[in-house]
Symmetry: none
Subunit: 416 residues, 2 copies
């Protein structure tokens, strides 16, 4: 089984948006043992879509199409598919009812354009999209299976995960087993070196990949086999255990667990309440903690004290400390930490102050200088980072370090 | 003149890396009036490359190939091109001398693999690459012009900017002009309806596209002409003005301006200080404000009051209000707003409380119920949202609505 992706949209061809959908789809198909032949991006014209379809069918059995399903006149995928397969457009009453319901619930009016979205090629089966108005479609012909999806990433992902991947996985002849080990706080070169004795003896059918992101490295084992799936699974898990043991000080979980989820699980099991006091990260640490469902069980809240005044007023940082050491200093983050702990009554908290850039640096404290403090009223740990000149990267990286510091502190703290 | 891009590499098809090169090349070509017909990503095999070349030549005069020029055995572009054009591979002495020089300068040894990189298809002209060992190539045939470039972004960009774009720009007969209008707070169907009187009279050579994302819609005009570029520019700008005027209540800027940047510019020009009081968005609104360089000029800070206790303690919300109306209510967000304004001394603030989900909903207040209040001590505006069941989307969408409310309030407020 071979697949192709066709992405439809002028915005991709003129480089206004980067096609991230195809990478995600490629990963998902790869995970279930289906290889991609091609990714083809074409313009918003009937003709370009027809050419793309011809090219895809020539090299694949499965064609996944994204984009061009919106309600406006530059959305031509339905019309192009109807012409390509030489079928009528048929009105789908049940889709129209669903769209009207969605709008009624939000107290908004539908338009004629939404009604037009309910005309689909006669040979298409509807794939329900609860995330938006544009439906997914499945068209099966002698030549190939076609899936048409909206270009909006979360709608596309919903339909892929709900309707398409489970069906394709069942029909794929190759067994693929993945195991991902999540690490934080160490770079990939060092990690690779520390598990060389394991990676060098891996059999041919089990591959190892290091997938680094800001302050985290995912280590992924992928086993492929057409034989016994159980045996393959056992083999992969066994190597994963060996790797986890060798890297135990950096491993915080497995299988795409996020740092904030790992932190949350620890807080719940240890019955610990946490809080945040942020300056340069501007609330990103708090928002990552809150991104976890159920975080209200252990997250009290936080303060974003961006100005000197708020650091004093909300976090009881001493004016003299700010004047003597500056806002970006070990002394100030320690006072911020004490302040947020007292203010919120949390057991453990984190505080951050730094120069994210691009402005605000000095020879003594260049852009990228960040101080963090983490701990309780009785024990504090501090850390200094010297990062890059890129504001966005500095903020993102620091927020991950902060959550990892919190996680490590909660992990080693005594249960209350 | 029409161009296609072929990107070569398994890592793109399995989604291990996202193809950012093509977006960049698309932008550059678009800027000099060369339209992209297709972007085709293919695997690291001679056969896949041949199919990609056939597809590209069928729809383009210019074929830009990236990737597969490195020194390892999975780099097959040179061999594939030689086979495709049925020519010998020829050793380039001057390239070998240059590579040896590069390595000597860095005190490193060349290997046989590097020497093999100097064998290029006989019909190729070398395009010098001072950024790495892999050369760029230019092959001209009756069917099309082919350019082959390394996949490493900075090497690709160097060769494009130095050797390819200047030449292509000279020979391009088409002028292209873009104008993007940024809107927030209304869906694309309604926007489309409100400018139907303009979109229906657009001349054939000016196209309109709606590019929606969470709570924002970008409206893009693209004009193409072989005639007077100045006149085309004037024409596109004129239609953009008409659209902006028709949608003035939703338009917040142009050309990829972010909502938070637009808010920041208004705060600076009106000398207004802002603050945030967040519950369900957990600091995301503050972190978006802080993502803008220089935001310390107008952002005082904020509070993430996730628990009932912190809403009372940090934002002076009355216990009786919480008990009578619940944390997710108009009354509570109004008190949160007053609280954060008094606590921070900011001129204008936003407060948010809602049920992001997936848990916590009741029949009366289902998941997705969000209240916002925005304003100053003398004027408050409130808004209720009824969103979906997806926690992440609810938080992201609400944070955009919040920043847009702040922006609108600052926009219409009297300068201090």
């Amino acid at each position: 089984m071979k697949a192709s992706i066709i992405t439809i949209g002028d915005e991709i061809l003129i480089g206004q948006i980067i096609d991230t959908n195809s990478a995600w789809i490629g990963q998902q198909l790869n995970d279930i043992g289906i290889a991609l032949s091609e990714i083809i991006s074409v313009a918003d014209t009937i003709d370009a879509i027809r050419i793309g379809l011809d090219q895809a069918v020539a090299v694949s059995d499965i064609v996944i199409i994204t984009g061009g399903l919106g309600p406006t006149q530059d959305d031509l995928t339905c019309e192009a598919l109807a012409k390509y397969f030489d079928v009528e457009m048929v009105f789908h009453e049940e889709l129209w009812t669903r769209i009207q319901g969605m709008f009624a619930k939000r107290g908004r009016q539908t338009t004629n354009l939404h009604k037009e979205q309910c005309f689909l090629p006669a040979n298409a089966n509807l794939l329900e999209n609860t995330m938006g108005t544009a439906p997914g479609m499945h068209i099966k012909t002698m030549a190939a299976q076609f899936f048409s999806l909206p270009g909006i990433p979360y709608e596309m992902k919903y339909i892929m995960e709900t309707h398409i991947l489970p069906t394709l996985a069942k029909s794929s002849p190759v067994h693929i087993v993945h195991k991902t080990i999540m690490t934080a706080g160490q770079g990939e070169s060092i990690l690779a070196k520390e598990i060389e004795h394991i990676s060098s003896i891996l059999p041919e059918h089990i591959k190892l990949a290091f997938l680094p992101s800001l302050s985290k490295v995912r280590i992924r084992l992928t086993g492929k086999s057409t034989n016994d799936k159980e045996a393959l699974h056992k083999e992969v898990i066994d190597y994963a255990h060996q790797i986890s043991n060798a890297l135990s000080q950096y491993v915080y979980g497995e299988d795409e667990l996020s740092l904030e989820k790992a932190l949350g699980e620890l807080c719940i099991s240890k019955k610990i309440k946490i809080a945040t006091a942020e300056s340069c990260t501007g609330g990103l640490v708090a928002s990552k903690i809150v991104s976890v469902p159920g975080s209200s069980k252990y997250f009290e809240g936080g303060v974003v004290a961006y100005s000197y005044e708020l650091k004093q007023k909300l976090l009881a940082v001493n004016k003299s400390t700010l004047q003597e050491y500056g806002a970006v200093s070990e002394e100030v983050v320690k006072e911020m930490l004490t302040g947020i702990l007292k203010e919120t009554g949390a057991d453990i908290a984190i505080s951050i102050s730094g120069i994210a850039g691009p402005g605000g640096g000095t020879p003594e404290k260049p852009v990228g200088t960040i101080w963090l403090a983490c701990g309780s009223l009785s024990e504090q740990r501090t850390k200094k980072l010297l990062l890059s000149k890129d504001r966005g990267l500095n903020i993102e990286y620091t927020s991950n370090v902060a959550i990892n510091m919190l996680r490590q502190f909660v992990d080693t703290s005594v249960s209350s």
